[in-house]
Subunit: 222 residues, 2 copies
DNA sequence: TAGATTGTTAATCGATTAACAATC
DNA sequence: TAGATTGTTAATCGATTAACAATC
């Protein structure tokens, strides 16, 4: 679901293709860190468990990035993918909720190296407000709207309890946030111009338990 | 990708359908907590932004759970979905890595109410070993194999740095783990009989930035 | 040059949707 | 009974794959 709501019809690229580009970028960055300078659609596909045809088809939506006979220059393709994904500048991100999860997000090193900086943290608990988390001062919830509007914040991570998540969402959206990564296990209602992604580990685990044989489980009877 | 590797051909149900069942279950549980007793494919679809036809088709793979004219009993459908997903007993889960993320996972309340219990935590940092995290004692990494084998652990969460994730995976798989939820931002290699799910917030954010207008971003030049 | 690999086309495959008879 | 909604079929839509001419 593109959910970009910009109303642009035209040769729109399938959202499922967009969703694979960050995976390609991650794999190429990894290859680069291993010292590799070139790769082929076949090699990249084997690394990811994806067919080489799919990789070539996906990339062909955006241009011609390879060379017959030799494949792709990794640094060049990394640059191109970053540009396509609007990662040529750093995105500043707000975190709402300074509990265990907010804490983990604030300290996660993986954001900065891949285009994102946790720049604001909000929490309703006054005992947390004013304290620093990895260089960011926790702000009170009543400062949320003013800060988001003033700074033009477009991206927020929701790390509050499920019971608060919709209310927080409504406030973020009203203040101008365009993209939300939601860690609360509920379905958020947002206007069509706002993007929401979900992170719910239980959904992922429940998907996997379908394939796990019952007879191998720990028997909790007595 | 089913990746269940059990080699069973037959009237296998599409993996994409399996992946939606936990979403349905979550929404139905939410409706139930709101006091609702019945729903229709139309109402559930509106709640989730999915067509009613898709919901009926998905459920039809497993049986007939509704009544013409009145729809679905929520408690009954919840029970059925839990049974299909093998959630009628509690799954015990191991966490590898007791950093900020491992800490957040150990303290997350959402697991227990939805079928999973964090029962073991491992870390290589000897200063963490022996300390309690939400009722679980952190064990040393060299106890991993023995514990996993003895307890028959089938599910593990990987919350270690990317540089350690493949090695940890290999050890988990060798010890008998069948399903892995990986929080490290690298592609794990596993045998075909082992399931891997990824949780990488940066991948989700990069997907969304594709749709964010460049001219609205904060300009970091100057 | 010979070998390798791209970008693209057409064919295949699979998933979603629309429609409706059945029936509560 | 009349209205509502299911489960299912067939049609549509979209995504993946196989194949290959072009060319590095």
């Amino acid at each position: 679901m593109p959910a970009n709501g910009n109303g642009v019809s035209a040769p729109s690229i399938p959202d499922i293709v967009i969703g694979r580009l960050p995976i390609y970028l991650r794999a190429l960055t990894y290859m680069s860190s291993e010292g590799k300078l070139t790769t082929s659609s076949n090699e990249l596909g084997e690394h990811l468990g994806i067919s080489s045809a799919q990789i070539r088809k996906d990339l062909s939506h955006f241009g011609e990035f390879g060379k017959q006979g030799t494949g792709y220059s990794i640094p060049y393709l990394v640059d191109q993918l970053k540009s396509i994904l609007n990662l040529d500048v750093e995105w500043r991100v707000a975190v709402v909720g300074a509990g265990f999860l907010g804490h983990a997000l604030a300290h996660y090193n993986g954001f900065l190296s891949r285009g994102f900086r946790i720049s604001w943290i909000f929490d309703s608990d006054t005992s947390k407000v004013g304290h620093e988390m990895n260089g960011v001062i926790v702000q009170a919830m009543n400062e949320l709207e003013e800060t988001i509007k003033r700074e033009g914040t477009q991206i927020a991570l929701i790390a509050v309890p499920a019971s608060m998540a919709q209310e927080v969402t409504d406030r973020l959206v009203a203040a101008g946030v365009q993209s939300i990564l939601n860690y609360a296990p509920i379905n958020l209602r947002v206007p069509p111009n706002v993007q929401v992604a979900h992170s719910d580990p239980v959904v992922q685990l429940q998907h996997m338990t379908y394939y796990l044989a019952q007879d191998q489980r720990v028997d909790t009877r007595e």
